[in-house]
């Protein structure tokens, strides 16, 4: 869940009243937000860098609020306040409008065909006669950063650039050039650099270094110029210093370049609707015209307004209006028409509207009922068998272990004296540590590691586990399957092979499998690198080999950092269903 940090004072000012911490927490709960933390800049620095560095930092109280991942309109103070005010019926939801400039001089952005290889799409708009203050300016920058981190997928999908319109003149060209041909003074720098130099310059920058890879290896880099050749920005890396916005900026040109046009439109809509509040004509956004490679022209921002119908009376319309979904009853009183504002990109189906109606109603006001669905329950046979066997193995004096399904390659290969290729194991592509390289093909390593972690416990140690292993299987749609195994080990001053053998006999007895060659089970001497020569046997039943038992090989014992003799049993139980 993304987190937004807002100053408590500003929040209360905008909401028009003060709240106690509990009251605000309650409000958040109702609306679907979470008040994660109440802190201050000083506290944050204290926690991260120690009290010394926190000296002189701001004491102003900050609320850290978690917002749902699909609500881009709640990522800034302005959006939060608007949403809550409408929810509490203190203000009416604004209706956002896009207009053409009065004198007909619409700003133009021309996209050339070179961009198609690297970053094909762009959208733009103008915020006319806007008034910033320090707080509004900070919020404007913060929202762009939040959008970049979330819906823009760290600028890979969309990158936002905002420019002081009074420092440049259109029409603007969005094109792509070889890095050596691009030259400008980046934001807050003192001299000009070429594009390659800029990438080098920011290679160590803690923020920007993460975005370099998006264009680094391309033959052409995206760049936006105005009609005089001034560079507005080199997306997605950095804007030009020339067009930087300050608190005194009055007119803002917003451009979003992207690899995903849908998201670009959403991002533009969010940014301009949020901050159009501070324009002279509130909630009015000036259009910009974007001309594509093939001559197609679009006017942005789209400010998507959709309508849809539902069949319930006027109270529902009232509820939805509180969620910024302006509604009124139409037709014969059974339908309502709902306006979806551009701030609600998350509304894509009627069910999204239903949720908002429920939130306005209050989840905890809804009456609880029990579904009339009558069904007879069935257990999954394999799990039923597992449960029965577990109980009896514990009754037999063995203790159950629960181990990880993921392990290292050594655990299932080298330590057991086999080659990894012969295990038919499933390999993980992106493990964070070597402990999660493969999925286990045997329960034995897990149990041996459990003993190694419990050497101080009194002997004998008798452990068991009935759980899944994973093997490759080309007959399955995903290429692998689970197999339910039963594994038991006996660890003591003497190997106790007869105990493990006895346990096998007991398990077979429980499964009603007699010790006979024809219709039951049979134990045959066998060889296996994990077991001591002459003390290893294969178990045959149901027409197949179901597993092995024996005394573990001393190499295995030492490789798992153990010291005592140990005997083990591992069988598959699915044949016995």
């Amino acid at each position: 869940m993304p987190t937004v940090s807002v100053k408590q004072e500003l929040l209360f000012q905008a909401l028009g009243r003060r709240y106690t911490d509990e009251e605000f927490d309650e409000l958040c709960f109702e609306f679907g937000l979470e008040l994660d933390e109440i802190t201050s800049e000083k506290d944050i620095i204290s926690k991260e860098q120690g009290d010394g560095k926190a000296e002189g930092a701001s004491d102003i109280i900050l609320y850290k609020i978690d917002v749902p991942a699909n609500r881009y309109d709640l990522l800034c103070l302005e959006g939060l306040v608007r949403g809550l005010q409408v929810f509490k019926e203190r203000i009416k939801a604004p209706r956002y409008k896009r207009i053409m400039p009065a004198n007909g001089d619409v700003q133009r952005l021309i996209i050339t065909e070179e961009t198609a290889q690297v970053r094909p799409h762009a959208v733009a708009a103008v915020l006319r006669n806007i008034t910033f203050s320090k707080d509004r300016y900070d919020s404007f920058i913060d929202l762009q950063e939040k959008l970049h981190q979330n819906i823009c997928r760290k600028r890979a999908l969309v990158a936002i650039g905002t420019h002081d319109l009074d420092t440049i003149s259109g029409p603007f060209t969005y094109t792509a050039r070889p890095p050596s041909e691009i030259r400008f003074k980046p934001l807050n720098q003192s001299k000009e650099y070429t594009a390659s130099e800029i990438l080098d310059l920011y290679r160590t920058d803690s923020q920007l270094k993460h975005y370099l890879h998006i264009i680094e290896n391309k033959p052409l880099y995206p760049v936006i110029y105005d009609s005089n050749g001034v560079v507005l920005s080199m997306p997605p890396i950095i804007n030009g210093d020339h067009t930087k916005i300050s608190i005194n900026t009055r007119n803002v040109f917003v451009e979003c370049t992207a690899t995903d046009i849908t998201k670009a439109k959403i991002v533009l809509d969010i940014l301009v609707t949020m901050f159009s509040e501070y324009c002279e004509k509130q909630f009015i956004v000036e259009a910009a015209e974007v001309t594509y490679l093939n001559g197609k022209t679009c006017i942005y921002p789209i400010l998507t307004l959709m309508s849809c119908f539902s069949e319930t009376p006027s109270s529902l319309a009232k509820l939805l209006t509180r969620m910024c979904l302006k509604s009124h009853v139409t037709g014969n009183g059974n339908n309502i028409e709902i306006e979806i504002p551009p701030t609600r990109a998350d509304i894509i189906h009627a069910c999204d509207i239903i949720e908002d109606a429920a939130i306005a109603y209050g989840y905890n006001n809804i009456q609880m009922t029990i579904p009339k669905t009558y069904t007879i329950a069935n257990q999954f046979p394999l799990n039923k068998l597992t449960e029965l066997l577990r109980q009896d193995l514990a009754a037999a004096g063995f203790t159950e272990a629960l181990t990880f399904a993921l392990c290292s390659q050594e655990d299932i290969a080298d330590k057991l004296g086999v080659d990894i290729c012969s295990t038919k194991a499933v390999h993980i592509a992106n493990p964070k540590t070597a402990e999660f390289q493969v999925a286990r093909t045997s329960l034995l390593p897990g149990l041996l590691k459990t003993i190694a972690a419990n050497k101080k416990m009194p002997l004998p140690l008798k452990l068991f586990e009935i759980s899944d292993i994973v093997v490759k299987d080309s007959t399955k749609d995903v290429g692998a399957r689970n197999q339910r195994n039963l594994c038991a080990i006996y660890y003591n001053k003497n190997p106790g092979f007869e105990f493990i053998h006895g346990l096998l006999d007991r398990v077979m007895q429980l499964l009603s499998v007699p010790p006979s060659k024809e219709s039951g089970y049979l134990i045959k001497a066998a060889e296996d690198s994990a077991f001591f020569p002459g003390r290893c046997a294969e178990i045959l039943a149901k027409g197949q080999s179901i597993g092995k038992l024996g005394v573990l090989h001393p190499d295995v014992i030492t490789k798992f950092e153990l010291t005592m003799p140990c005997s083990a049993l591992e069988i598959k139980i699915e044949p016995f269903l």
Binding site: A69, I348, E355, Y363, N364, P371, K476
Partner: protein, 439 residues
Amino acid sequence: QDVAQKYPEGRLLMLNYDPPVRSPQVIEAEQRSSKRWELTPEGQEIVQEGSHEARVFDSIPAEGLPQSELMKLPSGKVGFSKAMSNKWVRLDKNADGGPRIFRAVESVRDSVREKLQLVQQGEAESLEEKDRNELKKRKLLMEVVIKTYWIRKGSAFSTTVTKQETDLTPEMIASGSWRDLKFKAYNFAALGIMPESGHLHPLLKVRTQFRQIFLEMGFTEMPTNNFIESSFWNFDALFQPQQHPARDQHDTFFLQDPAEATDFPMDYLKRVKKIHSQGGYGSQGYKYDWKLAEARKNILRTHTTAVSARMLYRLAQQEKFAPAKYFSIDRVFRNETLDATHLAEFHQIEGVVADYGLTLGDLMGTLREFFTKLGISQLRFKPAYNPYTEPSMEVFSYHQGLQKWVEVGNSGVFRPEMLLPMGLPEGVSVIAWGLSLER
């Protein structure tokens, strides 16, 4: 005390706590203690010779005594400082031949000796406590504690000492000799011998309980024995877009081998592709380029909801729709770094109900019954967000120990974009909830 002197062996017996003698039925012993004051050896010496300070006084002739000489006398050092503080003698530092000590008074009264004499005569009580403590400090007196046992005949008193048996034996039963034998008292306060038993894993015991709860509520267990899942069933079929953060390298375990899934129900896959990229069934969709290659990527499943999706698809393929209630409790995998509150592998519990006309109220009612069986009755619901449910609710419960509301689960109504492409009839709703076993 007198008895102890007369029968020294008896004293030893009491001290050694010999069971045959000490056992309550034979004799009853009551312990009492008393205190007494006695003179230390030094105290006795003073009674005979007089206190140190008195002796110092006596040894000074009329013309005084050089200090150095005085210090050579047996009581010199100790007695001198005491005599000085009593002002019995005085010291002239500037006398001829070195510091000299003279008597300061004509005569003295050796009160210390007198007091000690009183104690010796057994009249310590006549002294004031202040005096006794003073003398005790000077190590002239000591307090002695005497333990006495008052002994009475017990109910089973006899002059013969009998040995007690510890246990019944087969021979005693056969011969009947048990009737004439005495048996040792059993110590019920000590612990017995723990039986040699095996144990079930505590987490899995909880799993068994949850299974039981679901079965009691009529839920059928889903087959979840497949840790490996394709991105299609784990994400795409659930209407989770391909650019969603959860499908990132750092949240999900992707497979190297086998890297891709090969088999899909192709008609269904086409419908899934359409709803993601273009919309349909009354939805706008996500409007992005849906790629088959992305859906084929194999992963370790991040939730058992992938299995629920498979089950719902299977349900939709039946000729006639029959309502269903499913559950599962099994392992899921997240590519997390391990720490005190995060595991890479944990168990997810999931419940699903599919029927015509299910409502949010039905979901809340089902959750209430479910959690009541766990002993959790105070519930609150909070709006939340999941890519595949709308409405979504987080479930909170009041934790008495922590004195606050904590999240106990997540729930919601599956989105139509997920259900309709499967082929489920339009009026059918599916409600679902999940929580983690480890929590």
